[in-house]
């Protein structure tokens, strides 16, 4: 059973990533979108000192917004020709499908985050300290897992219902607020923004990890009943 689920999860994840590679939606649409957002933030705030102060928050806000598109895209692929229905009606283990979509989402979000951090360093002039790298990487991974889990849960819920795309942000953004807070603070600590030191970031990493574990576990149980009809 566990083996079968892992195989299903890996096939779904590999399939999703292959579709992304083939369709170039991530590279040709979502990444440009996030980079434009970063430029627009600079126009709106219009002061390098302010930008440097709030850069981590802006990066994670941009991640949150692009996540909405990535999630919608991930489920549009499933519903376009009824593929998720086919999986469901073939009796595929839905928690395996959950993990598959989750893994693919994590990979895509990490690519987005990488591009955003590079943009933040280049455009806003923030500098990463050597001691902050570990904190930044671990907290980003934890945060991404949490976001991907809630994205998969609520994306699955909204996927079955036509004309309800606006529901996704309403459901996801309040739940995602702890991730936004935690990831932003730990990134500030990692970059040493506002006189913070890296050690101040570790409680936030704890929060992000608890969040990610909670929603991955819940999602693996809740996903099946949510997409079933």
């Amino acid at each position: 059973m566990a083996n079968q689920r892992r195989r299903l999860a890996l096939s779904v994840a590999r399939k999703d990533l292959r579709i992304e590679r083939r369709s170039h939606v991530l590279t040709a649409q979502i990444l440009p979108f996030t980079l434009v957002t970063m430029v627009l933030f600079a126009f709106a705030l219009d002061a390098t000192s302010v930008l440097q102060r709030v850069a981590p928050g802006l990066v994670w806000l941009a991640v949150l917004f692009s996540m909405m598109i990535v999630v919608q895209r991930a489920f549009a692929v499933e519903t376009a020709d009824g593929a998720l229905d086919a999986l469901r009606s073939a009796g595929a283990d839905m928690s395996g499908v959950f993990f598959g979509k989750f893994i693919a989402l994590v990979v895509q979000l990490i690519i987005v985050e990488g591009a955003l951090w590079i943009a933040a360093v280049l455009l806003y002039g923030i500098e990463l300290r050597l001691g902050g790298i570990v904190l930044l990487v671990t907290s980003s991974i934890s945060a991404t897992c949490g976001l991907a889990a809630i994205g998969t849960i609520y994306g699955g819920l909204a996927s079955g219902i036509q004309g309800r795309e606006s529901l996704l942000p309403l459901l996801v953004l309040p739940v995602a607020s702890p991730v936004l807070i935690g990831a932003t603070r730990s990134a500030e600590a990692a970059f040493g923004i506002g006189g913070t030191v890296a050690s101040e970031g570790w409680p936030w990493l704890g929060l992000l990890t608890v969040f990610a574990v909670a929603f991955v576990v819940v999602g693996s149980f809740a996903f099946g009943p949510l997409v079933d009809d």
Binding site: G82, L87, G91
Partner: protein
């Protein structure tokens, strides 16, 4: 293990029959010695607050090719969806391949294949990749994939073209190949002839006949009455969500 379509060497243990389905044949069109693939008794099913099925009784024996006929909105698609286990019923009882719909949904779903207006394929992937994905999901061997490709006559060019660029008939054949890979024992096809050209229809008929000959049961809803009647071993006419009056023996 029962012989499956073109893949009797399947090494994955499938769920066995739950025994004879209860004999609720009211009309003498199904010999009781036959196993029933589908038994629907007084089924009511709702689609969006509308009773698409209003108390329908249907029996289909294993190995049959049954044509569901009737006007648009008669409930043909809903019958298929109920049998596939993807449409809940409000009243009545349904047994598919000996499994009860209310208690054994998982067994029904893993043994039944449904192809409707949508084919359930990933449009950005090629047929080969789609079939490969399904083989991994089910745990089927590469041989089985090859067999399915052979049966559906998917040539190399079709195999490696993204599904979004295939014709309706080619997509349909890929969708049926998925059913073969899944070793579905009951094929539920909604308007399988729609959008196919003459040769595509002939091919499809041949595929379905061979499927039935090797033990699968086929239930298809179709508007192409002449063609489908020639293919089908029996015809059930539905109207207004119930079996149409005196047409039970088709």
């Amino acid at each position: 293990m029962r012989g499956y379509l073109w893949s009797s060497n399947a090494n994955v243990v499938r769920v066995e029959d739950g025994g004879e389905s209860p004999s609720v044949c009211r009309v003498n069109d199904v010999p009781t010695a036959h196993r029933n693939a589908v038994v629907m008794t007084d089924v009511v099913a709702m689609t969006g607050g509308f009773p698409a099925l209003a108390g329908i009784d249907i029996q289909v024996a294993e190995g049959e090719i049954v044509l569901l006929a009737g006007p648009n909105g008669a409930g043909k698609t809903t019958v298929l969806r109920v049998c596939a286990g993807i449409q809940p019923i409000a009243r009545g009882s349904v047994s598919v391949l000996g499994f009860d719909l209310r208690t054994d949904l998982a067994h029904i779903r893993s043994n039944v294949g449904f192809v409707g207006h949508r084919n359930g394929l990933y449009e950005d992937l090629t047929p080969a990749e789609n079939l490969d994905f399904w083989a991994k999901v089910i745990g089927a061997s590469p041989d089985e994939v090859d067999a399915a490709i052979d049966v559906m006559a998917l040539n190399a060019r079709v195999r490696d073209t993204p599904v979004s660029r295939l014709s309706a008939g080619q997509r349909r054949r890929v969708a049926l190949a998925v059913l073969v890979i899944r070793r579905a024992r009951l094929w539920l096809l909604d308007e399988p002839h729609a959008g196919l050209d003459a040769s595509g229809r002939d091919e499809l008929d041949g595929i379905l006949r061979r499927a039935a000959a090797s033990g699968a049961t086929v239930v298809l809803a179709s508007h192409e009455l002449e063609r489908a009647t020639a293919l089908a071993t029996r015809r059930i006419t539905i109207s207004g969500g119930v079996i149409d009056g005196g047409d039970r023996n088709g």
